[in-house]
Amino acid sequence: MANLLWLQGGACSGNTMSFLNAEEPSACDLVTDFGINVLWHPSLGLELGENLQKMLKALTAGTLALDIFVFEGTVVNAPNGTGEWNRFAGRPMRDWVRDLSKVANFVVAVGDCATWGGIPATAPNPSESEGLQFLKRGHGGFLGKDFKSKAGLPVINIPGCPAHPDWITQIVVAVATGRGGDLTLDEFQRPKTFFTSFTQTGCTRNMHFAYKVSATEFGQRKGCLFYDLGCRGPMTHSPCNRILWNRQSSKTRAGMPCMGCTEPEFPFFDLAPGTVFKTQTVMGVPKDMPSGVDKTGYIKLTAAAKAASPRWAEEDIFVV
């Protein structure tokens, strides 16, 4: 039996909503099949008031074991580093986070806000928000770059806005069943099993990417969303087109550009007007190239691909 505690800081509850929609395994499977004891969760916890405080104090005192501490949302430090803007169970949430992280075997940050600050930490960051171990790309965050949980791992980051439900439950199961040591993490402490391939991997528009045919309006089934509509699929690490959303689809499959929400810089360009859903260019050439591609190579590839493109690439081939 592994004790799991889930708390929310500066959050919209999106990752909770996502978690509750998990299918493989589901939130119920965690309890019935994998022996996870959910001590408390904002949407599922039964304890209130003093009972909850008593439980949290037992955890921080070490009289109740904390195997997995899941945190959703940013650590709010405002005003002036006190954290008083986000109080929970009688004290600033940041104080609970610090104390619970010390006693937890594993600490899991779920969603962009908990991992690197996400939207709340976007300039000017009025809530003085930060992620558990990162602030955007900067290593450190609230717990500091040297933090390791009792099991010897840094914070396990499962980013996304929200994170895919099955990424959350699969990592929780791995940790709860004693396979936490098998997890390999990338430079941003994301499990490599999910975050090595790109959002573009498995995208149904890859043919159009290859032949440089652009979608120019939302909802078009023809065309790649990277060239004009700001899709970040070729440079974003996520399995969104391998582990489908609702087991059905993905943003790009549905005609919606990837916003790069599993990367530390999300939201990109600080949401400045004109930067969302529009590919940023310099003299007509994309500012952000597909990962590993340079400008010269990109231009050469475009010329060759256009010249070689077949007629069908310009047509809507997804006929019903």
Binding site: T216, I299, A307, E314
Partner: protein
Amino acid sequence: MNSEQQHALLRKMAQLMQGGLKTQTEPFPETEKEFAAILTELRQLKADDIEGKMVISGFVDQPYGPDKQRCMECMYYLVHREWCDLPELAVPVDADWWCRLWRI
């Protein structure tokens, strides 16, 4: 627009440029804001105001600049249809033409 109409329009555009139509090739929109400003201008035109579209978007009937940029490599160009798929333009074009809304 059927194929015959498309070719007729392509010829008309070619004739306009051969006849010396002065178009706004400069400034090239270096930023999205500048690009968007040109699109806004185009949206104010009637859909059949071909000459207006050509002037604002800076059409020329040959490759442009030191890099010899041309429609052929532009992301909006549909090679087989010989068509500019940018919704604000939506006109037939030749692979060797260019305009300042060129993006790769």
